[in-house]
Subunit: 207 residues, 2 copies
Amino acid sequence: MSLRHGLLGLLAEGPASGYDLARRFSEALGSVWPAQHPQIYSELARLETAGLIEVESTGPRRRKAYRITDEGLAEVRRWLAEVEVDHTFRMETLFRAYFFWLMDPEDLKTHLASEQAFFAETAAALRGYAETKDRGDWGTSAQTRAMRIALEAGIRINEALAGWAQWAHETDLMTAEDFGTAKPKEGADSLDAGSPDANANADADER
Amino acid sequence: MSLRHGLLGLLAEGPASGYDLARRFSEALGSVWPAQHPQIYSELARLETAGLIEVESTGPRRRKAYRITDEGLAEVRRWLAEVEVDHTFRMETLFRAYFFWLMDPEDLKTHLASEQAFFAETAAALRGYAETKDRGDWGTSAQTRAMRIALEAGIRINEALAGWAQWAHETDLMTAEDFGTAKPKEGADSLDAGSPDANANADADER
DNA sequence: CCTGTACATGTCATCGTCTACATGTCCGCG
DNA sequence: CGCGGACATGTAGACGATGACATGTACAGG
């Protein structure tokens, strides 16, 4: 449940409303963990019930600002220190690559070129942003420095993917004529060939 | 809905059962898109109802092998060619980095060292696997070559993250005494206070 | 022949997440 | 003074994902 700890982490910087948090979540963390406002509001309600946050003040338009409690701060620190990192990640770009062999080579070239452009642009944007931090435009607080570290990861990942798309575009692995035209195999010689039961299949249960 | 197209993509290689698909999904795609067997079985049922796949044969222990239909093949190709890539991704490692400032510097050093080791090991394992492909141990089918391309992305990402963890470990951004000890700001100087439109937004790290 | 293990498929409850809808407030502008 | 737009918070329903539980089959080894 990363949303919970993400909200606690943001509130550790100082009080904020659900609206603020939704905005900040999508700006700062949105590219590594999407979260819409309904989820945030309901999670905040749950966190308040659990005593990890409390209402700090109410503002102009029904605005409720939350503050993290000592228990909440302890909880987010406990999470960071004790809970093991889940290294599985979701990335559609990479997921699709497993199925490139189904694509028309022309389409694939186009696809890779646009992916390359996207990652290069994203990397450049992040690098520009990082430079403003390095110049000290955002102060030198611990938060800013942590954000700079996170930013660096984003830069490196996007650069890596831009390089990958470039490499894929240039490699001859996908140029042969069997890309995009392949038909699925039929019958017994399929995916499970070699496994004990594989060949016993067709109509095996007639006996 | 990536699971749907992932299953279609795997079935495009040839007939397979839910059990096979669950195994292959976790082996090949599990690190970029987790999926447990209950989800796979129910998705297969839905795909069959939709006419995108059909039962090819039944085997020994209730085994049902599915085959992709022409409509299914058309659908997965349409997805690859027409549906835009969703570039948001989920990665807890990176998510946590935004909150490094809350960690004790000692714990953080340890954390980064173990992350670095993890990514380096993963990259090495993938690289070893890629080399067996390059030697032709798996044949030279279009699928194998597509998998090689996907593998390359995995290698580069893991290497990038290993390099990042190394860099973060060595940088002095996180060594200062304010890491891990910071307290949330109080009241008026925070993201917002109660007064009618104190809301010029002092938000330190935005944009 | 019995028994453990891997094979193989499913249900169920719960929770997380997303889209769409609903409501109301404050402020600036004409 | 009326109105549009940004602010601000929510609800409802559907769908996706997870973990626990349930069931039954084939086969290998003792």
